[in-house]
Symmetry: C2
Subunit: 587 residues, 2 copies
Amino acid sequence: MVLRMSTLFLRTLREDPVDAEVASHKLLVRAGYVRRAAPGIYSWLPLGYMVLRNVEAIVREEMNAIGAQEVHFPALLPREPYEATNRWEEYGDTLFRVVDRKGGDYMLGPTHEEMFTLLVKDLYSSYKDLPLSLYQIQTKYRDEARPRAGILRGREFVMKDSYSFDVSDEAFMRSYEAHRGAYIRIFDRLGLDYVVVAAMSGAMGGSASEEFLAIAESGEDTYVRSPGGYAANVEAVRTPAPAPLPYEDAPAAHVEDTPDTPTIETLVDDLNARFPRQDRPWTAADTLKNVLVILHHPDGTREPLAVGVPGDREVDEKRLGAQVDPAVLEPFTEADFAAHPSLAKGYIGPGVLGEKNTSGIRFLVDPRVVDGTRWVTGADRHGKHVVDLVCGRDFTPDGTIEAAEVRDGDPAPDGSGPLETARGIEMGHIFQLGRKYSEALGLQVLDENGKLVTVTMGSYGVGVSRAVAAIVENSHDDAGIVWPREVAPADVHLVATGKDDAVFDAAESLAGELDTAGVRVIYDDRRGVSPGVKFKDSELVGVPTIVVVGRGLADGVVEVKDRRSGERHEVAVADAAEHLRELVTAS
Amino acid sequence: MVLRMSTLFLRTLREDPVDAEVASHKLLVRAGYVRRAAPGIYSWLPLGYMVLRNVEAIVREEMNAIGAQEVHFPALLPREPYEATNRWEEYGDTLFRVVDRKGGDYMLGPTHEEMFTLLVKDLYSSYKDLPLSLYQIQTKYRDEARPRAGILRGREFVMKDSYSFDVSDEAFMRSYEAHRGAYIRIFDRLGLDYVVVAAMSGAMGGSASEEFLAIAESGEDTYVRSPGGYAANVEAVRTPAPAPLPYEDAPAAHVEDTPDTPTIETLVDDLNARFPRQDRPWTAADTLKNVLVILHHPDGTREPLAVGVPGDREVDEKRLGAQVDPAVLEPFTEADFAAHPSLAKGYIGPGVLGEKNTSGIRFLVDPRVVDGTRWVTGADRHGKHVVDLVCGRDFTPDGTIEAAEVRDGDPAPDGSGPLETARGIEMGHIFQLGRKYSEALGLQVLDENGKLVTVTMGSYGVGVSRAVAAIVENSHDDAGIVWPREVAPADVHLVATGKDDAVFDAAESLAGELDTAGVRVIYDDRRGVSPGVKFKDSELVGVPTIVVVGRGLADGVVEVKDRRSGERHEVAVADAAEHLRELVTAS
């Protein structure tokens, strides 16, 4: 079927939409692929829906190739299964909730772990039934607080989600590796520039996980990489703990008056002025900053937590948040201070936290705070700090936590060199769910010895509609989109220019030949539209090969242009169809 | 890809699900195609999703073939466009409503007229852009009061809906006919036993419409047909009006005491006892029954309406309701009687309705009540009836209405013989929307003379998920489903029986050959499952061709069985792949 510009439901726009900030949002709207219907909710126009279906087809092929079986759950889901796993509550405002005419509670599914788990429980009962991988390509819903960037982060979007079911952790690892391989093939075929990073699993509640990020400045995810090949989501970076230091010769801790030191900077200046060190000046890295937060647990309880980090680093709330998930971070309020009178605001130190812990508050420190390290920190009295406080001698934290910011130049945990930060778009996520859902919902099978074992699950997601935007983020120029061939809405954008009937006749016949040869064609058959407008549209729409039938026809040639490189060459009109068929098949 | 029963995510059931009443519901659940997730909400298992996608593919091909272009709207829709057409209210409890985290009103789309109209308004502006037909295959939502029959009437379901946009009514008729042709091809290819009937358009607000009904006892729609080929939805049947009768010689109307005649039957008995007629006895057909109802209009107002029908017929609420749509019928209450003191309950007659109309209530009569017809009816006084009341002489109704029941034996309006009623499943609906939506939402284009004209629209729907059930209703037997080949999940169900390795080796190799030849295969490779169970499963699953590799292999043959006819024949194992490829291609 030849797509004719004269009838194609498409109007390209010369102006960027006013609400668009990122390239994919601008270009997909301007080139007529998508259209906003409501905040974070988009309609797919004909070309856009073709691209979306091309992405779906690639995902489907690769999932089928690893033996995963396609099913399709409803998007409107009953409350009960999500109640059993506590996610009805945990999702909070992110969940679109629906009440039916009989007062029954429903939700628009943001993810389907519960439904898959219950379905397998319903049908399967033996180890012989496993391994099993099921997937669906389904519309999902999340009521994002700030939907942004067009279809990059929408409130209604298409995802492929799959789930693996295995009788043991060893068997699970094979399912995980199969999915990992499929994901690499999917993202390769989508033409994405991507990186696989170690990741926290977030609300999914698993233990091991990796993310596939499309490398893009416009991405919302920050990750780090090292020259030696280490890559991780910032939330997942593990800080290498230094070896413990000897502290036999360390001076005893001593409390000092430190008036007028409202910040770490003023404290450090004060130390250098009044207690200069021989070997090197005091720096913020010598201080231990103790930050108080409240963990709001899913069961509604509020737990205070103290986090100690070197004073030269900020607490990264995303990193801290990922560690305490599913609890949610809240500020430590004046009322909380009032409830813990032993805390001296601004001067919180180990007297109440890490030594005898009179406050009763859990105290977790950065992994750099190892035995033998010496610190300047609050003395639990207003206007006073304690100096030469030695970890393991003068205070003992309750454990460590990854809460400090990661900075460019920090060492990679695997020794592969200094880290640098970069940004990406989360395109895929594969993770070990373990037995969280199978335990909560009672998915067990009989093993070889007739004993009931709880099934080990994996969960795997691909952002299908998001991929359309991510591909554009990765692949565009000033003139428009540059589609990789396999996802492009057509192979060839055939432009007839001028007013000469012979040109339109030749183009028409070439379009027909290409169509017959299985080459997908957009044919710009519009009369009375200038060549300039037609060229601009072809660049904006972004089909990989542009063919111009125009003035050259008098010499028996048409022009073939590669959209990505801009390279042009002429081909005899008689050979054009075969030439293009070969070009399309080869690339 | 060969589907292997040893790993296919499928468990057939021997028992019908307890909530299932119709064959398609029972069989689709028992054969492992669908599974209930909530009332009226189903999950598609692997075989079911294959069939659904096969149906989608047929619909897509035929829509593309008439030049309709595929788009995809969100399922979660903003309130505003539906507010403009009043449908946010009109849909009432049928609409699933959603409030987002910012308090914004949304709905799960039951149909998308408004969204399509606004999109075309957004992009198009000239008669040169038309004709245009757009479609989508989309998940729709209706909070049915009584979801029933599995996926036959669900609350989440898949529909193809399309819309045509034309500059004139004449141009619209071409779009309508194109869709009509496509629908005939779709339902033919789906293998449905169907009928095209004239229909009311219901809440869609159009003027001309036809329905495609799958003929099935389990259907919810009643339609009528005549030997001469007339077919109509009961709501759409037009009663032929008899010619007016002369009434110069008719006696004057006379009021009679009719005590103890609480029913029409007792009234007729009383008339025959006390006022016997020479030529023929009184029957219920001589009486005029005046029924009072309230029309609840979308703007909230309540209007009383009197409907007069011959006393031998009931008022059919579905027929009456269809005539007054979008108003909704409500009972005429005691309070309504109190508000109209001129009405004598049980004896309502033309004194207050049709003569001087002292009640102010609109009075519509059955089309059989023509000038010159004589009636016995209420005399507007308790215990009294009026006899020999002549329409056009003694009373004048405000018009006619199709409210009386249609009965077997009634004449077809086109003179094609007596009607008989039958039941069907609404599979498709095509109708002229006219300018209802384009006017409400301001969709206009410039015509050839530079004048703004309002666009004429058509609306066309196919129940895609419902088709899966309707096909089963049309095509099953006691043993299971009998799929038409094009929608079947596979072409061949290959069964290996016994314990002999040679059998499994031969079956395995035949499965591979068929797969290579493009024949879609389910291969029952299960070891240790009895032949009886395998045969039962193959009949239940319903693939058109069943091939058994078993004892015959010793003689070099396999058995080929036609699922529909039950006919069997043997084929040499060496020729089996080619034989089956030809059989599949031919059918």
